[in-house]
């Protein structure tokens, strides 16, 4: 399999709406993908993920910027000459062709001999787990099977880069999980460079080598799943990646490897530095960075307890709003609904974020 690097440099895409107003769908973004990497474009609806992907595929022309594939600028190259394959959200299978003809379509465009083409179709059907489906019409397949045919059709031409636009959004929850594992397995098996668009953070976290998190056409953060989850650079990223609580703090001193901050009357040593310069900072804590502790600085009252078996979720009203803390069994029998409690932080995994 070809190992291809991809570089997006200062790409901007401006659409005109029907009133001729400008819409900055993608606003000056840059990122790089190393060969064989699986990158996810993640972000809320309308943030420009699809537009970015379509520019890479060549369906949209960037208003500004360059796209390099193996150091060649492909902006002026039409989609049919780009050697990039895409798996569409609605699959885009050819309804008037059989599964076999669908998969062989790209091979035919590449003028590959019939016998060889048929061998490749068989092989790829084996990889996606649909052996013997050659003669079926696509309309007779289930959603998950159609999805895999679309994937097979993209993979069989051995493209430089594989693009996915929310490929699982039309599937039910269970199938989605299976297909997620399947896609990851196949991508690793063929070792292809892939870009995956989704607005589902679980998909992004489980699939990616690298996450590019976008909002309003701009990139908010780039990093591996752990970084993006554990070290969000701002409140938006923190909230987008999962439950997080923010506490106003005062930064006392920034040392070489740690930062001294004060929350109420308590001073904490946070083992990281603020990511950005700002006037005000908050401390971002995910539920695992919070604990119930008799000498904690934050006071609150237990509102609800949700029993989950091996753990329980405590919903506590505090001056900073409702906070959720997950406690593993065995549980403290003294903690019941209506009781006042104190909450403390785990400074090692808390994060200083510009307000």
């Amino acid at each position: 399999m070809k190992q291809v690097s991809l570089k997006i440099v200062n790409i901007t895409k401006i659409f005109k709406d029907f009133k001729n107003n400008e819409i900055r769908a993608v606003d000056n973004i840059s990122f790089e993908i190393i060969p064989g990497e699986f990158v996810t474009l993640l972000g809320p609806s309308g943030c420009g993920k699809t537009t970015t992907l379509r520019m890479i595929a060549g369906f949209e022309k960037p208003t500004e910027g360059k796209i390099f594939i193996n150091d060649i600028n492909v902006v002026e190259i039409p989609p049919w000459k780009r050697d990039i394959a895409m798996v569409f959200q609605s699959y885009g299978l050819f309804p008037h062709m059989s599964v076999g003809e669908n998969i062989a379509y790209g091979l035919k465009m590449r003028k590959i001999q019939k016998e060889e083409s048929q061998k490749k179709v068989k092989e790829i059907l084996r990889i996606v787990g649909l052996e013997g489906f050659e003669d079926r019409p696509p309309s007779s397949l289930s959603g998950g099977q159609q999805q895999r045919i679309a994937l097979a059709r993209a993979l069989v031409i051995e493209p430089s880069v594989l693009l996915f636009d929310e490929p699982l959004s039309n599937l039910d929850a269970l199938l989605r999980e299976q297909m997620r594992i399947e896609i990851k397995r196949i991508q690793k098996e063929v070792g292809i460079t892939a870009i995956y668009v989704t607005h589902d953070r679980t998909e992004a976290l489980t699939l990616s080598d690298k996450i590019v998190l976008m909002k309003d056409g701009k990139i908010e953060q780039i990093g591996n799943p752990e970084d993006v989850y554990e070290k969000p650079v701002n409140k938006f990223v923190g909230e987008f990646m999962g439950k997080i609580f923010f506490f106003p703090i005062q930064v006392l001193d920034i040392l070489e490897k740690e930062t001294l901050v004060r929350l109420k009357d308590r001073v904490y040593k946070i083992p990281s530095l603020p990511t950005d310069k700002a006037d005000n900072y908050v401390l971002g804590c995910r539920t695992e960075a919070l604990k119930i502790s008799s000498d904690g600085p934050i006071e609150g009252k237990i509102k609800t307890i949700v029993y989950l078996g091996e753990s329980s979720e405590y919903y506590i009203d505090t001056e900073y709003g409702e906070i959720m803390i997950r406690v593993l069994s065995p549980f403290d029998k003294n903690l019941s609904e209506g009781k006042s409690v104190k909450i403390d932080l785990v400074p090692e995994i808390a994060k200083i974020i510009p307000d």
Binding site: A57, G58, F59, E76, I77, P78, P79, W80, K81, D83, I84, A85, M86, F88, Q89, S90, Y91, G92, L93, F94, P95, H96, Y105, G106, M109, R110, P137, S139, A150, R153, A154, I157
Partner: protein
């Protein structure tokens, strides 16, 4: 960016070189022709100068001259000396003459808006120069030729620039070429002829004049035709809308017997040849008609307004019917049921619910029929009698009087009401937010007419259908009757004779229609593809232009084709091409609209997937788009074929002895009272048209399952 700059430089350099080369070629051609014309002029000058001056005006009325004898006598037929004196080589010319040499000036002079060559010629007697003669020969021809050469070179240059800039700058050249060619075709064959027609009405021998329009807008006969057209249109539209609504109402709102048969029969007039209903009306009610003469022995015949209304209404109420069926089906019948449950009487439900909800549909049917009626040519031509309508008057001006300019003006006059009605109709249908569309058409019918009224109404429907059947059977009867009106004995000789005499027309027509069919099909699908899927500047303009033929009366299109394509740079009159092109252009809007509707049903990611897998646009079109919109493609083809087979109004101007049309043959036969022959050809056309539609049904049905799986 650097790469781009290089491309621009390369482009400019090549364009400049091309321009220079073309310019040089043009110059050479002009010089060569100029030399040739001057030589001719000189030759002429030799013979002119040898003639006695008294005979000059008689022998060469075109030539202007000035003669000055050395003994002081001057002769001239126009004051030209002052103009000639302003020539830079005037002195040189005089000098030549004194040495007994002819001289033609390098420049031309302009007198009364016309250009002339100037020849200085000696008048000699016994080898002695007696005087000087200055001759002016018309140079219009050479100038005309130069203009044509210039136009051709301009076109060549523009084509070159277009092709070269696309191949240099476009990342999708095939689409760009397709777009440009489409634009060129549409501009050349829709806009240019119309422009030429308008121009002709304002120009006479090169100068602007409003004389034609003054005549057309003041002469009583013309104004009468115009008001007749409007009158006929109004009456036919009203009657057709009433009948169409009645039929539609009965079919959608009641359970009367023979519904299927009625809705089949109603489709017949829409596809049958234009002269067929007219012909059978003449056979039955003409001056020698079966009913009027043989049975009732009346003094009345059908020619004139009443006959026209009957013929047009029978032919056009199906248009209103189809529109109204669509409208009534989209009005949820449960609304009427609800009103009835609230205690409203049946008549009140109809008046307060059904009628208001179908009002926009009624208006739109009316306008559609109105447009068709006043653009109609075939019925008035055959049945009009003394009742002249605009389309026929325009035709007679052109073919009878050879007054193309008046014909053009009259048919342009026709455009006014057709266009207004057409675009008004479009506007209404685009805003039909009025109508409550229910998602599920309920199979149940709430009858809002009382049983007795239903009976009366169905009898009317049956009678009209029976009349229609009667008309069609008359044509088939006419085929086997020896001499309609005189001798009704059975014979087969008509068939033999009609096939002999009509063979050429039939073969020509079928050939022309068969050639137009695939071209129209593919072309309209390509345009639909460009419009729905591609981005390019001027898309709105293209859409508007493609739609235009919908509202252009065939008469106008025919006349403007004759005007535009009977002169350089495009000379097509008399060829098969002009007829084929006309067929294609006239049916383009229908095909394109069908294609657009079909394409909009198809998920664009199917085509994107194909591109993504390496298929360039032309391959996407042929392997993905065309198979997926096959029903629209086939409909467009068969529609073009049928309409071409049954065309009259435009093609009547374009036929020639070499390429004839069967409709005109039918018309000629019946004008010469050869009703048997006309009947045979009409019947044959009906059979051909019906079988084409039958085949189409089968073919499209088979691919219908496809369409369902796409969405």
């Amino acid at each position: 960016m650097e790469q781009r700059n290089w491309k621009i430089i390369k482009f400019l350099v090549v364009a400049l070189i091309a321009f220079l080369v073309l310019f040089w070629v043009r110059k050479t051609i002009r010089n060569e022709f100029s030399r040739l014309f001057r030589e001719n002029s000189l030759n002429l000058a030799y013979s002119v100068s040898a003639i006695e001056p008294e005979l000059l005006t008689e022998r060469f009325p075109e030539i202007l001259y000035y003669i000055s004898y050395f003994d002081g006598i001057e002769l001239q037929n126009r004051p030209i000396l002052d103009v000639v004196k302003s020539l830079p080589d005037y002195e040189y010319g005089i000098e030549n003459v004194l040495y007994e040499e002819f001289y033609i000036s390098q420049k031309t002079v302009k007198i009364d808006e016309k250009q002339y060559f100037v020849i200085f010629s000696p008048i000699t007697k016994d080898y002695e120069v007696m005087g000087i003669m200055i001759q002016l020969h018309a140079a219009e021809n050479v100038l005309k030729l130069f203009r044509t050469v210039d136009i051709i070179f301009l076109i060549v240059f523009l084509i070159f620039i277009a092709v070269f800039s696309i191949s240099t700058f476009s990342i999708d050249p095939v689409t760009a070429y397709a777009t440009i060619i489409t634009f060129a075709i549409v501009l050349t064959f829709i806009l240019y002829p119309l422009y030429e027609a308008v121009r002709m009405t304002f120009m006479r021998t090169g100068t602007f004049t409003t004389k034609v329009w003054k005549t057309v807008l003041t002469e009583r006969a013309y104004l009468k035709s115009f008001s007749n057209s409007i009158l006929l249109g109004t009456l036919t539209a009203t009657l057709s809308t009433v009948i169409g609504f009645l039929f539609a109402f009965m079919v959608t709102r009641t359970n009367f017997k023979g519904k299927k048969f009625v809705s089949f029969m109603v489709n017949l007039p829409l596809i049958s040849p234009p002269f067929s209903l007219t012909l059978s009306l003449i056979l039955l009610f003409g001056s020698n008609g079966l009913i009027t003469k043989q049975i009732l022995n009346l003094n009345w015949d059908i020619y004139g307004l009443d006959g026209l209304i009957i013929a047009q209404t029978m032919g056009m109420f199906p248009i209103a019917y189809l529109t109204m069926v669509g409208v009534l089906e989209s009005i949820d019948s449960t609304l009427e049921e609800a009103a009835m449950n609230l205690g409203a009487s049946r008549w009140k439900v109809f008046r307060t619910v059904t009628l208001p909800l179908s009002a926009p549909g009624l208006l739109s049917s009316w306008l559609l029929v109105f447009t068709n009626s006043i653009a109609d040519f075939a019925n008035p031509l055959m049945l009009g009698g003394k009742f002249n309508v605009l389309s026929v008057t325009a035709y007679l001006e052109v073919s009878g009087m050879n007054r193309l300019d008046r014909g053009a003006a009259l048919s342009l006059l026709l455009l006014l009401p057709t266009m207004t009605a057409f675009y008004l109709q479009r506007y209404i249908t685009s805003k039909k937010s009025y109508v409550t569309v229910s998602g599920k058409p309920s199979g149940r019918i709430v009858e809002i007419v009382s049983p007795s009224l239903k009976k009366t109404l169905s009898i009317i429907v049956y009678l009209i259908v029976a009349f229609l059947i009667g008309l069609y059977s008359t044509i088939f009867m006419g085929c086997f009757v020896k001499n309609w009106g005189i001798d009704y004995t059975f014979t087969l000789s008509n068939i033999v004779e009609a096939l002999q005499r009509g063979r050429k027309a039939l073969v020509d027509t079928t050939f022309l229609a068969a050639v137009a069919m695939p071209i129209a099909g593919i072309f309209s699908m390509i345009i639909a593809f460009l419009i729905v899927r591609k981005k390019f500047p001027g898309k709105k303009l293209l859409q508007g232009l493609v739609l235009l033929p919908f509202s252009i009366p065939g008469t106008l299109l025919g006349i403007s084709y004759v005007i535009a394509f009977n002169k350089p740079p495009i000379m097509l009159v008399g060829t098969a091409a002009i007829i084929i092109i006309n067929f294609i252009i006239r049916e383009l809007p229908v095909g394109v609209e069908g294609g657009v509707a079909a394409l909009k049903q198809i998920d664009p990611s199917i085509e994107e997937a194909a591109q993504n897998l390496g298929a360039p646009p032309q391959t996407v079109f042929s392997t993905i788009v065309l198979p997926l919109i096959r029903p629209a493609f086939i409909s467009s083809m068969s529609y073009t074929f049928v309409r071409a087979m049954t065309a009259v109004s435009a093609v009547v101007f374009l036929i020639s002895p070499r390429w004839y049309h069967v409709s005109m043959q039918i018309y000629n036969f019946s004008e010469n009272l050869k009703f048997g022959l006309a009947s045979v050809l009409s019947a044959l056309l009906i059979i051909i048209v019906l079988s084409v539609f039958g085949i189409l049904r089968v073919v499209v049905k088979r691919s219908e399952y496809l369409q369902k799986t796409i969405i």
